[in-house]
Assembly symmetry: C2
């Protein structure tokens, strides 16, 4: 049997997500066309589509068909993109560049950027009720997925993490607060991507619980490595200046524990993720390869 080819897998899936986004994003014209233009600008700015790909992989891992959950995959990318647009605003992280391109408010102005974020967040929930999703998933399952999604994105998830991140900028952060920021700001939505995929794919309670565990470990590993790349990464690859977290006095894992300890922690989290899904068969191979890639990536 051939070794699983992650590079090809990611490329295929990313193309599938990009084409689904073309299908499912709003086509609004007229007086509000500008905000939809800003939405396309940010969605098409070269994202890795990590969350949609995770949702699709988790769906397949429980025996579902990722082609049947594409609106939900796109909804995740909408929420992720809205969070980037709002995080980049002058009143928040005040970033001019994102993935090597001018940020949304730099191109469209602050008002349109705020509205583009609001529009994307709202649209995510419209996509979760899209007829194409309901054709393949029971309404009660979709409701559960929306519940998981909204909790992960809201004040007890991503918004909460971003709040803490902003409030603790320039302040001494203890390990507990750092863990809160990591698990909420990035971890919650990554965990939800996996959980939503497992739910919509029709997974058993046991499978869903294993995948939640996988998603939690993966989400933390993802943020820990993001922090690390801000210290040791290559600006051309990560698409923003190296050291920007340090300059903003952001709480990061390397700042608190050093580079070696950070690498060790990331590897532990990878092992936790792999262990959580050890009972799954070959259909979970993409999730295993993704866990390894997240920890070894350089961008």
């Amino acid at each position: 049997m051939n070794k699983f080819n992650l590079k090809k897998y990611i490329k295929d899936r990313k193309e599938k997500v990009d084409s689904a986004l073309e299908t499912y994003l709003p086509k609004t014209q007229g007086p509000a066309g500008k905000v939809v233009e800003a939405i396309y600008y940010s969605i098409c700015a070269g994202g890795k589509r990590v969350r949609p790909i995770l949702l699709m992989a988790a769906c397949d891992a429980v025996g579902g068909d990722h082609n049947k959950v594409l609106p939900a995959a796109c909804a995740l990318e909408c929420v992720h993109t809205y969070s980037l647009i709002h995080d980049d605003l002058p009143a928040m992280d005040d970033d001019d560049l994102r993935r090597g391109k001018p940020t949304c408010h730099k191109v469209y102005g602050e008002a349109i950027a705020i509205l583009a974020g609001d529009g994307l967040l709202t649209y995510a929930f419209e996509l979760m009720t899209h007829p194409d999703l309901l054709e393949n998933c029971a309404p009660s399952t979709v409701i559960k997925a929306i519940n998981v999604f909204s909790k992960a994105a809201g004040v007890d998830g991503m918004v909460g993490g971003q709040t803490a991140d902003i409030l603790f900028e320039g302040k001494d952060v203890d390990p507990d607060t750092l863990a809160y920021i990591h698990s909420h700001k990035t971890g919650a939505l990554i965990r939800a991507s996996v959980e939503m995929g497992a739910l919509l794919g029709g997974g058993s309670q046991e499978q869903i619980e294993r995948l939640i565990e996988y998603g939690m470990a993966l989400g933390l590993a993802f943020q820990v490595i993001d922090d690390l790349l801000d210290v040791v990464g290559d600006q051309d690859k990560i698409g923003k200046p190296v050291g920007s977290d340090i300059k903003k006095q952001k709480a990061t894992y390397p700042a608190l524990f050093g580079i070696e300890e950070t690498r060790k922690r990331a590897n532990e989290l990878k092992d936790m993720a792999l262990n959580a899904i050890s009972a799954f068969g070959f259909e979970a191979e993409p999730l295993r390869a993704i866990a390894c890639y997240v920890v070894e990536r350089d961008r």
Copy 2:
């Protein structure tokens, strides 16, 4: 039979909404507690609870029980409040006062205000999947209501209207664009409140269609009168300086058509709303009284 007492009805319903908000709003503490504090500040700033009351009244009008749809009523107030917080931001309408109190960003800063808005919008969809709502409404009905809700709040609804409002500030606006701004910025969510109530209350297709018509007319009337009060209103009653739309060169109905024509238009819209529900019985009396009140109000 006694005449329907709208004043008492509104007071009772408002108390019910306020108490439901206390029950259903997030209780988050810890690092993200600040954003929840900002959410409470804005939600408790003296809103009239128009949208929740409309949802409950439409639910009752089709023979449902408004006590069984309280999470959805609260969800509407969350989305309405988020829209006010974001509209007031310096990059948007730049308002310091809202209902006579300092706006959210004046008290908590811009970053927390943006996050409070994002948190409220997200939380609205969490509330739409609350167990208390699902206990009383079929999942497929709740999905339909979420679909209506997200469309009304998003780029083809409220966000679209606000985008046009911002883009046309200080510019000559033709009647078509003004109609677009009105029907999207305020009208869409008011219409959705009524439609969601009719759906969740178990209304027939015919009842729902009548109520959508009622909601569209009411939403327009509401905005036309809002514009009028900005010209002829009493600052103490409306909670913001009279003439602030004119100062910001906002497109308004009185600016385009004059005060008399505006009053005439509001009365026509009231009649359209009343006609739409003429076949309903006494259980629609609150909706009738609300339509009259909206056009006759002075605040």
